[in-house]
Amino acid sequence: MTDTLVVLAIGAVGGLLGGAIRIPGGSMLGAMTAVAILQLTSPVRFQIAPQWAVVGQILVGGVIGSTLDRNMIASFRSVLVPGAVAVVSTLVAGVLIGSAFAILGFADPLTSLFGLAPGGMAEMTAAAISLGASGPLVASMHVLRVVAVIVVLPMFLRPAARRALKRRAEEQLPAGGRDD
C-alpha cells in the first residue's frame, strides 16, 4: 500500500512536470523517468498492482473512443483514398522495419514490432505491455521516434514546406496579375 502511494505520487509529480515543460510525450516520459530514477536509486525494489496498467490503458483507449463521432467519420471520408494510402503505407513500413529489427536479433519480435510500429507512444506501450512485450524497451523506442520526428525532422520539413508554400504563392501571383 505504501509502495503504491509512493510510486503513484512520484509518477504524478514526474508526469505533471513533463507535461508542464511541453516536451513530446511529456507526461508519460516525465512519469517514466521519475519512477525509473526512484527504482534505480532505491535499495528496495518497488512494485504496484498490475491493474494500474490496465486502468492507464483504459483511460488512453477511452479518450480515443470518445473522439470518434459521426462528424469525424465524415471528415475521414473526404480524404479517404489518399488518407488510406498514407495510413497503410506507413503501417506496412513499420511492420517491415520492425520485422527486420527482430530478424537481425536486436529484440524479440513483439518488442520490435510494437517498438517500431508508427502508433502513438502511449497506445503502443499499452498494447505491448498487455501482450507481454518489454514495456520499457517499447516506450524507449517510441521516445526516440517522437524526439526524432518532432525535434530533428522539422529542421528538414520546415524549409521544404516553406519552399512549397512559396512556390504555391508564386503560382497564384501570375493569375492575380492577369486579372489586373
Binding site: 473522439t67 475521414f76 517522437v146 504555391r168
Partner: protein
C-alpha cells in the same frame, strides 16, 4: 446555470468512462489481444454513437499516460538501461527508415493526389498527433487533413495492430 452545464459535462464524462471501463474490462476478461485499450476504444465509441456529445477532456488521457509511464518506469533495471544503450544506433536507423518511408508516401500524396507538399509531408510523418498538428499549422499545411490522417493511423493500429501482430508472431519461425 453554470452548475447545470458542469453537472451535464460530469455526467457525460462518467457515461463515457463507464463505457470505456466496461469495454476495457470485457476485453481483458475475454483475453482479446490488447483488450483493455481496444475494449475501451469500442466502449467509449459505442456511448458516443448512442449519445453524441463532447469528448472526454484531455486530462483523462494525460492521467492514463502518467499511469502507463509510472508502470513502465517501475520495470527499469540497470540491465535494461544497458540494452537501451546498445539498441540506440539500430533503433535510430529503424526510425530513419520509417521517416524516409513517410517522405516517400508524401511524394505519392503530392504527385498522385495533388495534395500540397506541406500537408502531404505532415500527414505522412510518423510523429505524435498533437505535436504534428501544432507544427503543421506553423508551415501552412491543412491541419484538419493532417489530424484526420494521423487519427486514422493511430486508431487503425490500436484496433488492428494487436490481433494482426499476434497472428504475425504466431507465424514467426522461432515461436
Amino acid at each position: 446555470m453554470r452548475f447545470a452545464i458542469e453537472g451535464e459535462q460530469t455526467g457525460r464524462n462518467l457515461t463515457l468512462l463507464a463505457g470505456a471501463f466496461a469495454g476495457g474490462i470485457a476485453g481483458e476478461l475475454l483475453r482479446v489481444p490488447a483488450g483493455a485499450v481496444l475494449g475501451a476504444v469500442l466502449g467509449a465509441l459505442a456511448v458516443n454513437l448512442a449519445r453524441p456529445g463532447p469528448r472526454l477532456p484531455r486530462g483523462f488521457r494525460e492521467g492514463g499516460k502518467i499511469l502507463l509511464g509510472t508502470v513502465v518506469g517501475l520495470s527499469f533495471a540497470p540491465e535494461l538501461l544497458a540494452t537501451v544503450g546498445q539498441l540506440l544506433i539500430p533503433v535510430s536507423v529503424g526510425i530513419l527508415l520509417l521517416i524516409l518511408a513517410g517522405l516517400g508516401v508524401s511524394l505519392v500524396l503530392h504527385h498522385g493526389f495533388g495534395w500540397d507538399m506541406p500537408t502531404a509531408l505532415y500527414a505522412s510523418t510518423p510523429g505524435g498527433l498533437s505535436e504534428l498538428a501544432l507544427t503543421s499549422e506553423e508551415v501552412g499545411a491543412r491541419t484538419h487533413v493532417v489530424i484526420a490522417v494521423h487519427t486514422v493511423r493511430v486508431i487503425t493500429i490500436v484496433i488492428l495492430g494487436p490481433p494482426a501482430l499476434t497472428i504475425l508472431i504466431g507465424l514467426w519461425p522461432d515461436t
